[in-house]
């Protein structure tokens, strides 16, 4: 009864092309924005924002990046952690070597550098496909880890490989508190989501999806596979790079290559599979699921912390995590976004289904 588009007519082309064509969706988005900008800082404790919300938002950006590559263009990548690492290190070097650069520009440039790296990694994708490409992206993952572990130039010649990030200021305003960081990340998330949402419905987004569905057929109807695949790699690693830079600067506040290992790549992949491939909303749902699951498991395990030794607890946590992933894939292989779509379809007819 509440969620129904009856009476909402599209009387102009502009209305027909709106991102959220249904009024209720627009309200929901505005309500959500008000909630995260105004309400969350009022009700959430600093611990919740720093520990849960900031990583959730950063992982969402990373997941959008991977979803563009894997979900929309169909190129399976196990090297997203490498793109994040390149972004983080690029941002650190730009910020510490050229202190005059505004921090937002630093993040964007870090994203660009990651994008260039992504194009390099993606260049064999024209010939190598499927799981062969996935393993090839693993090469990038291990190579990047090795480069940052071996050459101390990237951390300014410091002996320890973990180094603190410099202070940040936006238009002269010093970013110090957790809330400042939260708003900075939120800004990136909002702009990035809007950009991605529009990108995937534009010409390039449709070309990506055509390549995903069948690249030979897409080539036959005049889509350039090289340009399309590489642009997906570039955009995807741009998001990855920005997410990595934000992760280093706003969340852990240090640059450390071990924070971007293979398991990070797998984690982001989990997010988009569980959230829903080829869905921007799914990135947020998946990131929420993957960030929340270990926390909930951990809390649950604390109940038993007296009876069972801690090593056993971490093993049980592993088993539950793996088991839930399998369970989820069996029950809903198209992810949480599909569940949401089904719910929406049901809501349209509620409470009088035929």
């Amino acid at each position: 009864m509440l969620y129904r588009e009856t009476g909402q007519f599209k009387t102009s082309y502009k209305k027909d092309m709106a991102i959220f064509p249904i009024r209720q969706d627009r309200w929901a988005v505005v309500a959500m924005l008000i909630f995260v900008v105004v309400v969350v800082p009022l009700i959430a404790t600093e611990h919740v924002i720093a520990g849960y919300l900031i990583p959730l938002l950063i992982w969402s950006i990373a997941a959008i990046g991977l979803n563009i590559l894997t979900g929309y263009t169909g190129q399976l990548s196990l090297g997203h952690g490498a793109f994040m690492a390149v972004g983080a290190y690029a941002a650190y070097n730009l910020a510490s070597r050229i202190p005059e650069l505004p921090i937002i520009l630093v993040f964007l440039l870090a994203g660009l550098i990651a994008a260039i790296f992504g194009v390099l990694v993606g260049s064999p994708s024209l010939r190598i496909k499927g799981f062969y490409l996935a393993v090839a992206t693993l090469a990038a993952q291990f190579f990047v880890e090795w480069v940052f572990a071996t050459f101390s130039w990237f951390v300014g010649g410091a002996a320890s490989m973990v180094i603190d990030t410099p202070k940040m200021a936006v238009f002269g305003y010093q970013i110090t508190s957790t809330l400042d960081n939260y708003y900075l990340i939120l800004g990136f998330v909002v702009v990035g989501t809007l950009f991605a949402k529009n990108l995937v419905r534009s010409e390039i987004g449709r070309a990506w999806m055509a390549i995903r569905d069948m690249d030979v057929a897409a080539e036959v109807i005049g889509i350039q596979p090289l340009y399309t695949k590489l642009s997906a790699f570039a955009v995807s690693s741009f998001y990855g790079g920005v997410a990595g830079a934000l992760y280093a600067f706003c969340y852990v506040k240090s640059v450390d290559f071990t924070a971007f290992d293979l398991f990070v790549s797998l984690k982001v992949l989990f997010m988009i599979i569980i959230g829903g491939m080829g869905s921007i909303l799914g990135c947020f749902l998946g990131a929420t699921f993957i960030v929340a699951l270990p926390i909930i498991l951990n809390e649950l395990m604390h109940l038993f912390s007296g009876q069972i030794p801690s090593a056993m607890l971490s093993n049980i946590e592993h088993m539950i995590f793996g088991g839930l992933i399998i369970f989820f894939l069996i029950v809903e292989p198209h992810g949480l976004a599909r569940l949401w779509m089904t719910a929406k379809e049901k809501l349209r007819l509620w409470p009088f289904p035929h």
Partner: protein, 301 residues
């Protein structure tokens, strides 16, 4: 023989032999990929699970051969459970979903293996001494471990057995039919579920052999499951669906990795073995995108 040359041969042979050990792990991947098109990320966890089961049973004072039989039985039961619980409901899903499910399985098995047994380092002695091959050392001045030679022999026997298994008999024919086309095989009455269980059980057996050999080398512990990552370049080099490819790929990767590590490593900074194998594999892939022995990719619109 001059020292330089002897050293080169030594490095080369050591590389070839360690390559055989990579192919052991790669074989497990190939078996499953061939029969079901699933890229089984959990192969490393299966190696860990098999090795831990084996070593803990041995530590209980069970006879060596009995312990192998028990561990094998455990792997077969595991394969049946995996087929029932995970693969059967996921039939006809896109391969990426199955791939993600095996990553979930990877987490699950890691937890299970270390939960049932424990996460300490267990020394494992499978009765092969890790000493230099003395007669070869004396005659040609080349230092090669007897252990490497023996593991290469074991691997060779295993490959012969698998090749035989795949070629002969009812099960072998059914396996090849399923590998060719799942649906066509099903329509002529081949029980797909049974074949998958057999394949996963065989992969479990290969994992047990790999786990036992790697276990003596590295000690049975969590890091043994990371050996699977070493096997991936072997896999893409040889081709996902070729048993011979896994062996030849292992030899090429093992040899070039060792040579690169010894001669190139000092120039550009150590620790390059984590990625150099991937680079070599990628160079081959650009020339032949389906791997050396993989089936030709035919695309139809």
């Amino acid at each position: 023989m001059p020292m330089e040359l002897a050293f080169f041969i030594e490095v080369l042979v050591a590389g070839l032999l360690s390559g055989v050990m990579y192919s052991l792990v790669a074989l497990g991947f190939v078996l499953i990929f061939k029969a079901s098109g699933v890229f089984n990320f959990a192969q490393g966890a299966m190696v860990l699970f098999a090795a831990l089961t084996f070593v803990r049973i041995l530590e209980m004072g069970v006879n060596f051969w009995l312990a192998i039989a028990i561990a094998l039985a455990v792997m077969i039961v595991l394969a049946i459970i995996i087929e029932r619980v995970m693969l059967r409901p996921l039939v006809a899903q896109p391969v990426i979903i199955l791939f993600m499910a095996t990553i979930g399985l990877n987490y699950f098995l890691e937890g299970l293996a270390q939960g049932i047994w424990d996460s300490q380092v267990h020394g494992l002695d499978i009765g092969i001494p890790d000493v230099p091959w003395m007669s070869l050392l004396e005659s040609t001045n080349i230092l090669i471990s007897l252990f490497d030679v023996w593991s290469a022999v074991i691997c060779g026997v295993l490959v012969l057995f698998l090749a035989f298994f795949f070629q002969k008999g009812r099960i072998g024919r059914a396996l090849r039919a399923v590998a060719d086309d799942n649906q066509a095989a099903m329509s002529v009455g081949i029980p797909l579920q049974l074949i998958w269980a057999i394949v996963w059980a065989t992969a479990g057996m290969v994992a047990l052999v790999a786990g036992a050999i790697w276990g003596q080398r590295l000690g049975v512990q969590f890091s043994i499951s990371l050996v699977a990552l070493k096997a991936l370049p072997v896999l893409i080099l040889g081709g996902f669906n070729s048993i011979a490819g896994a062996i030849i790929g292992g030899l090429i990767i093992g040899a070039s990795e060792k040579v690169a590590e010894v001669y190139l490593g000092p120039i550009i900074g150590g620790g390059i073995e984590s990625w150099v194998a991937y680079f070599i594999a990628m160079l081959f892939l650009i020339a032949r995108p389906q791997g050396l022995f993989g089936e030709k990719i035919i695309e139809r619109v």
